[in-house]
Structures are given as C-alpha cells and as structure tokens.
Amino acid sequence: MSMLTEQQITFFNTFGFIILRKVFSDEELAIMDDEFETSLKTIQGERPDNEVPKHFNWSNLGPETPFLSLLPEDPRICETAEQLFGEHVIAVSSNSNRRVGNTHWHTDQSHPHSYGLKFAAYLQPLNSDNGAFRVIPGSHKQPFNDKLKHIEMHSSEITVPYYSCDSAPGDIVIFNFATWHSSFGGSTNRRMCTIDFYKNPETPEEVEGTYDQVIVDEKVYAKLRAYGSGFHPHWLANPQNSPRRQRWIDWLRKYGFVKSEEA
C-alpha cells in the first residue's frame, strides 16, 4: 500500500515539503524519547565541563538505539522516500539533533545537482513561536530558489514570509534539501530525529554532485558530530541481511561516503 496519495506527491513536488500526521504511535514515541535521552546523557557526559553546544548531532545507527537505527528501513519512511525520489533512493543517515535557539534561513542543498530528502520527527509540540520548522513554500524550485540567495534574508528590511509547520510528537515533516527553511523562538532543548535520503544520480552532473556531497558531508560531520561515526559497524554489518540496506551500503561505499576503515 502506498504511503502517499497522488495529491500528496503533487503537494510535495509543488511546495517542497509535506507534513504527515500521527506517523508514530504513543508507544513508539516513548521508545524514541528514551533512546534519545539515553544517548544525550552519554554524549553530555563525555563533553568537557558539561559544555552545551548550540547543536548536538549524533548518529542513531548503533545498537544502543535499536528503534531509531531501524527507522530508515521502516516502510513508512523508506517507501515514502521511494515514492518521492524513485525506488533507488539511498538512506544515508538516521540522526538525533538537540538544538538551542534559532536556526536562520538556509537550504540543505550543497550542490545544484545533488538532491535529497529529510524526514524530521520533532519530539516536542512546536508552533511558530517556539521553534517549529518554518518553510518558504515552493522555494526548492528555480528560479525562486536562487532568487532567495541574492536577497538579504537577515536584514531588517526583509521580513521573510513563511509557513510554519506546526507539529505534534508523532508527526513527520518531509522536505526537499533545496527548500529554504528556518526555525525561530525555539527553546534550549529542541529535539528532533532525522533520516536523510539521497537521490540516486542519473546524469553526469548528478554524479558530480554526489561526489561533491561526500566532501560536504565530511566537513559538516566534522563540524557538528559530537559522538561516534555516521555509519556504525553494527549497521554496516547488516546482521538482518536486509537487501535494501545492503543496496544502500554498497552505494555508500561506491561513492565514498563509507570509507574502507569503517567496513
């Protein structure tokens, strides 16, 4: 059974995002909260002087977060990604994020021909005033996307018009990496779990964009990652012999996202 209707796919393609309501049950949310909290405590314990960075980001692909590590293969997630970006879409991360304060306007696209999707599950109720995901609908498409790069979004002369993706725990916001987004007014403890997918490159430009993404990911992980590797050996071992996961791992190795020493 398809996760998304034709109209929902049209919505996503038109506006660059979509909100799915009540994807996770209360029981699943309790597990997600527990795994998140346990990991956070471990990470904070390893920080010098209990330092609290603006952005904690860690991988959920290890055995200590069994529910979160399997989310990329959850049919509610991966089959939705396949509907949006094709059956050869690749899961490249399952992360947890603890953010403090505002996140200014940006996109997650690093190369004009590198395409990706992010699934974001927020663990707290959020609205426009307390850190909900804000989006500029339709901004994933050109020339609107480029136009936004050339205006001073942070200046006092521009009041960026946005749509607030108010959400409750259990909801998922899916967005195209190219979509402009931000968050303002959030608390010092904003929590979300994310799963990223990359589109399988089909043109020389997209292949180039994928190799470029490898370099960008390394830089971003070096800057943000507080704990562990992006690809835990346990996940790479694929103990359940999942064909889908194996396809992803093979692809990640082929393009260099997974280094030989991580195998």
């Binding site: 109209q7 919505f11 609908p137 020339p143 136009k147 205006i151 521009i158 009041t159 749509y163």
Partner: protein, 281 residues
C-alpha cells in the same frame, strides 16, 4: 521612495507590506468616507454595486469606482506614501487601473487576478487597505509568496481551475472521500501553505496581481476593504491587448480623474486617451 530591500522583497515574493502608513485619525476619515459611499451606493446608486458573494455571503458587495467618486478617497491615489512606492515598484508612467470597495465577503478561494497567457510579462499591482483588524483565520489576505513568477505560478494553476470550477465551494453534496479527492493538492484551500497578511487599520499591502491569493474565515458583514489598482506603463502592443482582454475598464477612466487638478491623478489616466480611452459619464 522604495528601499532596495523593499524592492527585492516585492520582486522575490510578489508583495510588500507597509505597517501603519496611515494614522488612526486618517483611517477614521477614510473609513467614514468609504461608509458614506457604500450607503449611498446601496440606496441610490445600485448600478455601481455588484453582488459578489456566494452561498455563505449572499449580501457581499463590490463597489466600483469608489476611490474615483469620493474626493476624500481619491487623495489616497496621489498620497506620496502610496504613489512613491508604486513609482518604485512599477517605474515612471504607471497607469490607474481602477478601484473597488468590498464588504461582506466571507471567503475567496485561491486565485490570481485576470489569468492569461504571458501575463507574467506585465506587472499590475493591487493596493489593499483593510478597514478592520484581520488575522489568518478572520479574513486576512493570504498569499503564496513567489507565486507571481514562472514556473511556480503555473504549478499552482490547479488551484485556479478549482476556483473557477467550484466557485468557492467544492461540491458540498459529495461524500468526504470524493470531496477530498477533488482537491488538487489533497488539502482544503484554508490549509494550503501560505503567508497571511494579518493587519490593523493603517497597514497597506501592495501585491502583484499574478500572485495567488485567497481569504478564509472572513467576518461576513464586518470584513471591508478598499482596493486601488495600478499597472506599469503599457509599452507594447501585447500590453495593450492584455488590458483590453482582461481589464478593458482601464480604458474608461472616470471623468473626475481625467479632469483632476492633481497632476499625479491626471498623469495616471490622461495618456490612456492616446491608447483609445473614453471618459466614463
């Protein structure tokens, strides 16, 4: 004058909001003048009023030439706080494209004004003054930022088709599943992602008429606004044909504007005569 950032905002998002342009005292006079015109129109000059409502708002009316007929409103069109902004957005030589006063409309589904092929090449701007405070759920003008430009504009055309085919309400006799299936993006119009121009009297919005806009949750009899319309100086035959096809009344400017003592007012209409304008008697 228009600041560089304001111009960039308009070009990028298709609209510009200016807050508290008019003082409460000025708004009191504007509202009083508009109310006088509405009352007169509904009692003695009914030809000037169109009933534009649907099932939910049968008494909704639109009063054409409201600004042209009332000197206290006419001054809005030449007020530097409006005129100079329009000059910045449309360039010199922009033309007057009419006015209307609306009241009583509860909702208007997603649409752009006067759709047509190649419409993106010609800029027309509507300036709205809301007479009551509005919020997203009580009649604020909603816009989809950036939708005045291709190809985003065309991707939203299913909303326009829906607007035309269903005239604000989607077959209410259909069951829920059928009804939702008819929605072009699987969402009710009120749930389409947008920016709501929540406003207080004295605020003004300038929006590109290609921009998709809508209103939901209006307060019925209480929702009132005055709109003035302008367009860039027509410089090609294509522009002239566009005006003739979609807003032919632009070529019939009101006599009071043609005979105005104000160079600004006259300047917005007098060159139209060379393009075939006729005086409204």
């Amino acid at each position: 004058m228009v600041e560089k950032g304001q111009l960039a905002h308009f070009e990028t998002f298709g609209f510009l909001v200016l807050r508290q342009v008019f003082s409460p005292e000025e708004m009191k006079d504007i509202i009083g003048a508009a109310d006088e015109m509405w009352e007169t129109a509904l009692t003695t000059n009914k030809k000037s009023v169109s009933f534009v409502g649907g099932e939910k708002d049968p008494g909704a009316t639109s009063f054409r030439y409201i600004v042209e007929r009332q000197p206290r409103l006419t001054k809005l069109a030449e007020d530097s706080r409006i005129y100079d902004v329009l000059k910045g957005l449309l360039g010199s030589g922009f033309i007057w494209a009419g006015s209307e006063g609306q009241r009583g409309r509860v909702s208007t589904s997603w649409h752009n004004d006067r759709p047509g092929k190649n419409q993106n090449k010609y800029t027309r701007i509507k300036v709205h003054f809301y007479i009551e405070p509005t919020t997203k759920t009580t009649g604020a003008l909603r816009v989809i930022p950036g939708s005045h430009r291709s190809p985003f504009h065309e991707s939203l055309e299913p909303l326009m088709n829906h607007h035309i085919e269903n005239n604000d309400s989607i077959n209410s006799d259909k069951n829920e599943i059928d009804r939702v299936h008819l929605l072009p993006f699987g969402e009710e119009g009120a749930d389409i992602p947008c920016f709501a121009f929540e406003s207080n009297p004295g605020d003004v919005i300038f929006f590109h008429q290609n921009l998709f806009h809508a209103v939901y949750g209006g307060l019925g009899e209480g929702r009132r606004y005055i709109a003035m319309k302008f367009a860039a100086q027509p410089t090609t035959d294509e522009h002239i044909q566009f005006i003739k096809a979609h807003t032919e009344y632009v070529f019939h400017p009101h006599e009071d504007f043609l005979n105005s003592n104000s160079p600004r007012i006259r300047g917005m209409v007098e060159n139209l005569e060379a393009l075939g304008a006729k005086v409204l008697k």
